[in-house]
Amino acid sequence: MTSLALAQILLNGLALGAAYALIALGFVIVINAVGAVNFAQGELVMAGGFAAIAIAPLVGDAAGLPGLLLLPLVMLLMGGLGVGFAHLAYFPLRKRPRVAVFVSTIAIGLVLQHLANAVFGAAPRVGPPLIAGDGPVVGGLTLSLQQLGVLGSAALLVSATGLFLGRTQTGRRMRAVAQDPEMAAAIGIRPARMITLSFALAVALAGAAGLLLSNQFFVSPNDGGLFMLKAYIAVTIGGWGRLDGAVLGALLIGLFETLVAAFTSYLVAEALLYGVLLAMLAFRPSGLLPERARTRV
């Protein structure tokens, strides 16, 4: 394999990992906010892809705007969906054991998957490109503008999310609620509002990932399960409840899959991913980075 081909493969793995990172980030935000796994995260990614396809003709194509401008629109739309999601999947169950939320998110995932199948049809669809056209050639390596757009958008969104949660008043409040809802309520933060915001953010990130993936990798109603699995693994190896760990875990998975597949086969790559995972759990049973989430029942 030439080094050029290798570089191209690495770039692909990185782009895939970057999109996984957005999914995992949304996943971990919900874990931190309410302590529950959101089994619908994969379907929300798929929904983001279809949302982009649905609104692209209304916005981008008509006005001749690049798909990149769709990103904030899709995120806004999905954020709104996230508010509804919180009120359906979480708030009616907030006083119940967390496993109830597992099932409510499973149910919503089913609804989204089959709604997409019924409304958009079973065929895979191609999403709007972020930026059309060929990109620059760097040392013989053709960088497609689309891929650069995906990488750039993902990097921007990951850092913006980190800054928002770490540096802004609202972000700090969200984290305070995540750490100790009662204490937060006692100092005048309204936990319900912060939890709603967490869901909105998580779903918006999933939607963004959906748009970023939809052009290069298409979108079909049955894609959800795959993304959910990848996010779950990323979050666990990165240290349950850590934002940085989720991003790191996702990038590692993206690179690992692509690189191992490039040198062996897809079968080996997948088997080895789970094999390494089991070995890691056997020798380092608490993830790559120490976990930071509060303990829960």
Partner: protein
């Protein structure tokens, strides 16, 4: 069992039988058979997920493995029915036994991920090991079930057979969790560290339940192979697990009966919605969401309460109290290079109350953790009488007679006070509760108690084990003056009976009048030791303790 619950179940069971015999056609029987098969797998999942609270993602894998084992033994080895199902049950149990030791020690989501990894690897093998598994096409032509030459045909006979298996599975599950065992298991789920400290052998229970869940899953899979006649990698896919998870939660996760009801509902729901055409699975998802929102305790919660079964079985008497002294010799404990305890020695004799004081982070709780076995010392020994406890598991230490309580009470909120005590051993619950000032409340739920009362419940629970030495971590925290005085009385009386008591507390006015001796820790070292009188005058103790947080 002549209460309303049993009556309702009897009527429900009879109605189902009448439906199956008189009204259901071939299609109705098919759906009922599927529901029964999933019910068995869900009964297994209920043990590990509902009872133990462990999110195993391998139940679908056990199910599929059972199906493949039954299919392969039937097709390749020509096994007849009972042997195919035995193989289908045995293979997943074997796998579970192999993975149990590394996997069961993992905490919640890491356990989930490990079981997921194993399930995915099994799925990959089924798809790609084509010579054996037939690849994605799978295996077909698996014969129908026949017993002693008598074929169990599709339709009513198969339905009746499967539901007989459901009844047997319910009975086995009931045997595994009956009476006092269920209380111990509930304590293990809701308060795992307390369970260990009370001598409940969590590892053994987890191992048994994990293997049982694999057995039920495999058994169900084997039935599925015979009922459908085809096994494809689909039986190993993630959606089977998701279905079983939903069945268990919708059914009501603390009840195997709930798992059966959940299976009945979830298998029938999409069939009822067939008329919605393209949208029928959307309707199914919405109904699932409705069920989880509007049935807080699951389908089983709709049934009238079960009368608390009083265990009648003769249980072994508690260990007689031992007149042994605890001696901790030169123990050291490091956490990532920081010494939490440095060369600490301490002893507690029968009938003695030893107070352990020190500022926050001085190592008091770490010392209690070492004594109770939750953490292992880096060096040094711990003896109880002439038994060496160093490095032993919490369960074994508890069974020698050392029982601790926790700074933050570790209780099973869903158990009544009486059941909380019964969970650890046969005892006179009324008398013990009365001793700690909780008489008359034996029927209340532990979760309904205020924190201070939960601490007293912990003491009663420790006494129920027949403990010789009590290590109490801040038992008076949050109590008012009257309650403290009562607690002091109780501790004195216990010491007078010969209990050894190690008392960790911040409140000097509570601890000093009570203790025979006081040990003062600071930054992991003993800085002062002596009678309460000597301690209050010891400048090192004053500096270590009062200097930092003056009373």
């Amino acid at each position: 069992m002549s209460d309303r619950r049993s009556l309702l179940l009897l009527v429900g069971g009879a109605a189902l039988t009448v439906y199956a015999v008189a009204f259901a056609g071939s299609y109705g029987h098919d759906v009922l058979t599927r529901a029964g098969i999933y019910a068995i797998a869900a009964i297994g999942y209920q043990l590990v997920f509902g009872r133990l609270g462990a999110l195993s993602l391998a139940q679908g894998c056990f199910f599929g493995l059972g199906a493949y084992a039954a299919a392969l033994t039937a097709l390749d080895l020509g096994f007849g029915f009972p042997f195919t199902v035995i193989a289908g049950t045995a293979l997943p149990v074997l796998l579970a036994a192999l993975i149990a030791i590394p996997v069961l020690r993992l905490a919640s989501h890491y356990f989930a991920l490990a079981t997921l990894g194993i399930a995915q690897l099994t799925l990959l093998a089924a798809i790609n090991w084509t010579e054996v598994t037939g690849g994605a096409n799978g295996l077909f032509g698996i014969p129908q079930i026949s017993i002693a030459g008598l074929q169990i045909g599709f339709g009513l006979p198969l339905t009746a057979f499967v539901w007989t298996c459901v009844a047997v599975s319910l009975w086995i599950s009931h045997r595994l969790t009956a009476g006092r065992r269920s209380l111990a298991v509930e304590t293990l789920r809701a308060a795992p560290s307390a369970a260990a400290a009370l001598g409940i052998d969590g590892a053994a229970i987890r191992f048994r339940f994990f293997l049982a869940s694999a057995g039920f899953g495999g058994f169900a899979g084997a039935l599925q192979a015979h009922a459908v006649g085809v096994v494809s990698p689909d039986v190993l896919s993630f959606h089977i697990l998701v279905l079983l998870l939903a069945m268990t939660v919708i059914g009501g996760r603390d009840s195997p009966l709930g798992a059966v009801l959940g299976a009945l509902l979830l298998v029938h729901l999409p069939e009822w919605f067939r008329d919605f055409a393209d949208y029928y699975l959307v309707a199914y998802g919405a109904a699932l969401l409705g069920a989880i929102i509007f049935l807080p305790n699951g389908l089983a919660g709709l049934l009238p309460e079960r009368r608390t079964p009083r265990s009648e079985a003769k249980l072994p008497a508690p260990h007689p109290r031992r007149d042994a002294a605890l001696s901790v010799e030169h123990v050291t404990k490091h956490f990532g290079g920081v010494a939490a305890l440095d060369d600490v020695s301490i002893s507690v004799a029968p009938g003695e109350i030893v107070g352990l004081i020190g500022p926050n982070g001085s190592g008091k709780t770490t010392l209690v953790n070492l004594i109770s076995g939750i953490e292992k010392p880096g060096s040094g020994r711990i003896h109880f009488g002439n038994e060496d406890l160093t490095g032993r598991s919490p369960e074994r230490i508890a069974r020698t007679g050392i029982v601790r309580t926790f700074q933050h009470p570790q209780i099973a909120p869903g158990l009544t006070l009486g059941d909380s005590l019964e969970a650890v051993g046969p005892c006179d619950t009324e008398a013990l509760l009365a001793r700690v000032g909780l008489g008359e409340r034996a029927g209340d739920l532990a979760g309904s108690l205020p924190p201070a009362a939960q601490k007293r419940l912990e003491i009663a629970r420790a006494l129920a084990t027949g403990a010789s030495l009590l290590a109490l971590d801040e038992p008076a925290a949050g109590m008012n003056d009257i309650e403290r005085a009562d607690l002091a009385q109780l501790l004195k009386a216990l010491a007078a009976e010969g209990h050894a008591i190690l008392l960790v507390d911040h409140a000097m006015d509570f601890l000093l009048p009570l203790a025979d001796r006081v040990v003062c820790l600071s930054a992991g070292r003993i800085v002062a030791e002596g009678t309460p009188k000597e301690i209050v005058q010891d400048p090192r103790a004053i500096r270590a303790y009062f200097g930092e947080s003056p009373l």
